[in-house]
């Protein structure tokens, strides 16, 4: 396991929290309400952002594509998980992998419909971006037709069925009565970190991961080495969809309310996340996720929740102007 990655993640969580906290407290004399709770919130929220952004970054780093349909894949993964519980009575720990695989398959179909025909023609990257927007719009509209746009939620008993929660539904008090963390929130924090390390291990050490890096480096070499580039594309899309699907299900569980528009809200934040971390930088995606979550949580804690979007999107805009390679820049690049 890569210690440097762990270091980056931990510093994103704690410094991302501490710096605005100190500025707010000592520079502006603003009181941050129960900082422990804010930190806990930033941790699980950032985890979802990171997980979502991980798939975004994976496709950009390996395939050099900006897949704007990623947010729709995320939403579909969440809904497939939700429907497995609602319609097929699956327990949540089955529904979660089902949502992940479902997300993977949706992502592969995005590749087949929106990217493959353009790839054959060597179309410019912008064309591929436009057609991914098209795929995203179609997926979103289909979802509103199929699932309707009224909010849906995971039934309480499916959440209670999580290990160790049956007797203590939803709120789970730590020793320190100031902090309330539900087991779902802990799972939401832990699962993305585990997935991130698995992904990093795969890309760096497994044969298929190395093949992905060769494709990222030079597709001509990859072909000459008998690597089926089309399969690697499909696999990478599948993987990004799996990550998005996991994020979708976790988001549904965390906020306990889902609409087909859940992707649209996360889409632009996810874009901010990967730009902050450096486009196509897998480690940066995780770091960026926690930074964005910290920005949001801090603005809410200081009573400026209504400005959090403005801060997030301004930082997207500014970081591109000032440091287009992202905060981690070249140094943290995991790109092959």
């Amino acid at each position: 396991m890569n210690l440097r990655t762990l270091f980056y993640v931990l510093s994103a969580i704690f410094l991302g929290f501490l710096i605005p906290y100190l500025i707010a407290t000592y520079l502006f004399n603003k009181e941050v309400l129960s900082p422990e709770q804010q930190l806990a919130n930033a941790m699980w929220r950032g985890s979802i952002y990171s997980l979502f952004a991980l798939g975004y970054a994976l496709i950009f780093s390996i395939l050099g594509l900006l897949n704007l349909a990623h947010s729709s894949v995320f939403m579909w993964g969440g809904y497939i998980g939700l429907m497995s519980v609602l319609k097929l009575d699956m327990p949540i720990w089955v529904a979660m992998p089902v949502g992940m695989i479902g997300g993977g398959l949706v992502a592969v179909s995005v590749d087949v419909i929106a990217f493959m025909p353009l790839r054959r023609r060597n179309a410019p990257r912008i064309s591929q971006l436009i057609s991914s927007i098209g795929a995203s719009v179609i997926l979103l509209s289909l979802a509103t037709l199929i699932f309707s746009s009224t909010p849906k939620r995971f039934p309480q008993d499916s959440i209670d069925a999580l290990p160790g929660t049956a007797d203590k539904p939803l709120t789970w008090l730590l020793d320190n009565a100031n902090v309330r963390i539900t087991p779902i929130q802990i799972a939401i924090f832990v699962i993305p970190i585990v997935l991130m390390f698995l992904l990093e291990y795969m890309v760096n050490s497994l044969k298929i991961g190395k093949a992905m890096r060769v494709v990222a480096f030079n597709q001509r070499i990859a072909r000459l080495l008998s690597i089926n580039v089309g399969n690697i594309f499909a696999f990478t899309f599948f993987l990004s969809g799996v990550l998005a699907g996991a994020a979708g299900v976790l988001q549904g569980l965390a906020f306990n309310s889902m609409t087909p528009y859940m992707g649209a809200t996360v889409a632009l934040k996810g874009l901010t996340v990967i730009v902050l971390g450096g486009l196509g930088n897998i480690r940066g995606a995780v770091v960026g996720g926690f930074l964005v979550a910290n920005i949001e949580i801090m603005s809410i804690a200081l009573g400026y929740g209504w400005l959090s979007d403005a801060v997030v999107f301004s930082s997207l805009f500014l970081i591109l102007l000032v440091r287009p390679q992202g905060l981690l820049g070249e140094s943290g690049k995991m790109r092959a």
């Binding site: 795929a135 509209s141 486009l279 979007d309 805009f317 287009p324």
Partner: protein
């Protein structure tokens, strides 16, 4: 004018629809200018929002007359384009796309929170943009003639652009920026001018549509709107000046046509759902399909002269051989 629309009523073309088609055509032209120079900017929904809000606030809250308010909206859009363009246009390709998406979101968020921010800073309650609820009960002052005149001016400009120094410079930049710079073309200057002109056209379309809708809300100008505008240009094509007009009008008319032809109720009866109440979703699917199909199979768009020439040739294969003088 009325007689014309009486005649067109059976195909779903009433005056209101036609007005929105004209707005779409103008918006298509606004993104055409930047695309013509090879800049993939999604900022025009943001500039449209600026034009709308500035002109509507001026007419509604400060009792400005209509035409000066529209012009003020365009000037505001142009000024902000100057400020934003210089740093943003250094980016290219998808970085420019992302930055302009970010710009659009910032504009929407700032409009939504304008009153609150003002209150926070100056400690005084005001009502300018009306927050998330927007501005209501705006009297309809834009009429079809305004829209036609504005569109004609814009189209005339695009037509002239194609054959001017400015247009040729943009085309060269679109081909290859480095080569263009080596040919002595002031790349930064031309890119910024194109960006500003596109912004002003979008802001003008915004001002006109603001006085057509009765209600404006910040959410009308979010990323979905940017996608709409992009779709107009993709459908019509980005190399020929008629393209965005055709794209905008066709795309805005398509849902009406589908409704008239009862396509929705027909498809709905097959899938067992009433689709006539799902206009937004159906529009979305049409947009998406148009984007993918045209980018993949007809990248030149509907108004691509090459496309029609080759189609003509293919349909009359014998005539071309014999018909040679």
């Amino acid at each position: 004018m009325d007689a014309v629309f009486d005649f067109l009523a059976p195909v779903g073309l009433n005056e209101t629809n036609f007005q929105f088609m004209l707005i779409a055509a103008i918006l298509g032209c606004s993104i055409y200018v930047t695309l013509y120079g090879g800049m993939f900017s999604l900022a025009n929904a943001g500039f449209m929002a600026i034009g709308t809000y500035v002109s509507v606030v001026l007419t509604q809250r400060y009792d400005w007359p209509f035409v000066p308010a529209i012009i003020a909206g365009m000037v505001a859009g142009g000024l902000i384009a100057i400020i934003v363009g210089l740093p943003v246009l250094r980016l290219s390709d998808i970085y420019l796309a992302i930055a302009t998406i970010g710009f659009g979101e910032v504009v929407v968020v700032l409009i939504r929170n304008f009153d609150r921010i003002y209150e926070e800073i100056f400690d005084k309650k005001i009502e300018i943009t009306g927050g998330g609820k927007g501005i209501k009960n705006i009297p309809v002052t834009t009429d079809t003639l305004h829209l036609i005149i504005f569109l004609l001016i814009v189209v005339y400009f695009l037509y002239r652009m194609q054959h001017s120094r400015f247009g040729r410079a943009l085309a060269a930049i679109r081909q290859d920026e480095t080569v263009a710079a080596n040919l002595g073309i002031n790349v930064v200057y031309y890119k910024n001018v194109a960006f500003i002109i596109g912004a002003m056209i979008a802001a003008g379309a915004g001002g006109l549509s603001g006085h057509l809708n009765r209600v404006i809300e910040p959410d009308d100008y979010d990323f979905d709107r940017a996608v709409d505008i992009l779709t107009y240009a993709v459908l019509g094509g980005t190399t020929f000046f008629i393209g965005p007009v055709v794209g905008g009008m066709v795309l805005r008319y398509l849902p009406e046509l589908l409704r008239r032809l009862k396509v929705l109720s027909f498809v709905g009866s097959i899938v067992g759902r009433d689709l006539t109440n799902e206009q937004a979703a159906v529009d979305g699917i049409i947009n998406g399909i148009v984007l993918i199909l045209f980018i993949v199979y007809l990248p030149g768009g509907l108004a691509d002269p090459q496309l029609w020439k080759s189609l003509y040739r293919r349909l009359r294969p014998n005539n071309t051989q014999k018909g040679a003088p």
